[in-house]
Assembly symmetry: C2
Homo-oligomer: 303 residues x 2
């Protein structure tokens, strides 16, 4: 049987384990909605043991994501930016989960020019995997839209700086109940309402007034309820892009790779386009496995 | 027995009924956490009947707040700004709740200079009551901090324009669970962390990045967890004030009356002061009763 490693993208909500051949080929995957947010330590250990029972001959086991946070299995800390693959491989946090040796990937931390700190945990593995696989350029801005969107400046194949916007979580929590729940009826999609939101969020007032304003617009007949989600998403993404441009004025001047799930990347591409820029989606499902593969190679080279 | 009216401030969360003498004296109050958000129509009727059973000889019954919304008893609509007491009295929505005639106060709607619509329902009664009682000047900016803060421009004793910021609801929903719940440990209070938040929210990035940034600051040691709520509240209030100044550039040039609960008005006063302005709290508990009293007098004058 061909040798392989196990790579586990273990976040707050989801557990995704992959069996990865030494040539990078994925020969098995186990996905469960069992993120660390809902697990006690004993349950984390049991879940890992289930996976190892199916794949008992891994050369190494790697894990990335919130499993390495202070609410996961072990705090794997952060590596300071700028950070490239070799630095990450040199700072793998080697620990035991039950009887098994696991190398947990540290997160990345940066401090932007204005002194504001930022952190990521899990995205570093995806990013460095995509760079190693040539799917991302070694220089320039890349976006990872999601619940906590990351906008990352790459420099010579390293993560140089980044900013996080929690637009996705704001949308989820404010529309789940309360005032804005009554304004949302159906999914968000590109169109006039979405683009009006993008413009408002990018050029106008802050989120505190714009988000309430969505309800006023629906009540007063300016906005159809079925367009509520689209308008709200537009406002949040437009505001997020304003923050990106504030940090990096040339952000919209070049084509922006958008790494993530297709629907959200599509919305972001439309938003970027509405603001005069260009973006293209990059499927992220292979990003983690490429990352684990590249990390393993780098780690073995260090050994 | 002296004649009296019943005035009911019936919001989403709370029911506050007052027995008000024709000279404005409050001779009874019934307060229950039974806002319309948790009541079916039959329950609304039963609650009103309980109150009338205690105060069976009211000359008139008035109700303001979300009871007059499309999720309350009857949609009492909105009066367009500019709107003063007489206009509101002329547009009372007269309806029956069970066997009882009730006059529901309409909300107010405005459309600001940039075309953005806004709405209020319940605050109009408080405001016009305070003006009629001489507790507010007939001209100038007044703030009503709360879950959905209102900033109102008064002109010749009328509500001319206003803007709503849902800062309070954003704080509540984002800190109840999820990412920011882990960053909040203890109540918000004035101090260096609050004021740092005010400055950041007023001058810096948008809420999407600043709110995530609070977690990064705590994780990286820039902000103590016990200061998390203070910093977050500061960011939200600072951003709200930026929106107010964007609309009305001279907003911070004059002393701002702050109408609402003492703790939140105190925080807003500190925020305004941190930005070079001045604010003073006005207790709001008498605002509704003064409003009902003034509305009754105006309505009787029209009859």
């Amino acid at each position: 049987m061909d040798p392989y490693i196990i790579g586990i993208n273990w976040g707050s909500s989801n557990f995704r384990a992959f069996r990865i051949g030494l040539d990078g080929t994925v020969s098995g995957r186990i996905e469960q909605p069992r993120g660390i947010a809902g697990l006690e330590r004993a349950q984390m250990q049991a879940l890992l043991e289930e996976v190892v029972a199916q794949w008992p001959h891994a050369a190494r086991i790697y894990a990335s994501g919130m499993i390495g946070s202070n609410i996961g299995w072990r705090d794997a800390g952060y590596v300071e930016c700028p950070a490239a693959l070799d630095v990450l491989a040199a700072h793998l946090h080697r620990t035991q989960i039950g009887a098994h040796a696991v190398a947990i990937v540290p997160g990345l931390a940066c401090r932007r020019a204005d002194g504001a700190p930022d952190i990521m945990r899990g995205e570093e593995t995806e990013l460095l995997g995509l760079i190693a696989a040539g799917a991302l350029p070694a220089n320039g801005l890349v976006a990872l839209p999601g619940t906590h969107s990351k906008w990352v400046q790459l420099q010579d194949g390293a993560v140089a700086s980044f900013v996080t916007a929690m637009s996705g979580e704001i949308f989820d929590r404010l529309t789940a109940a309360g005032l804005l729940a009554s304004v949302v009826d159906g999914p968000a999609e590109d169109g006039p309402a979405f683009r009006a939101g993008v413009q408002a969020g990018h050029h106008g007032a802050g989120l505190g007034t714009l988000l309430f304003g969505a309800r006023a617009r629906v009540i007063r007949g300016d906005l159809a309820r079925r367009d509520g989600a689209s308008y709200l998403r537009g406002v949040l993404i437009g505001a997020e892009l304003a923050d990106v441009v504030r940090l990096w004025p040339a952000a919209l001047a070049h084509d922006i790779p958008l790494v993530g799930a297709a629907p959200v990347c599509s919305l972001y591409a439309h938003a970027v386009q509405a603001l005069g820029g260009q973006g293209h989606g990059i499927a992220s499902h292979a990003a983690s496995t490429r990352g684990f593969h590249a990390l393993h190679q780098a780690a073995e080279a260090l050994a």
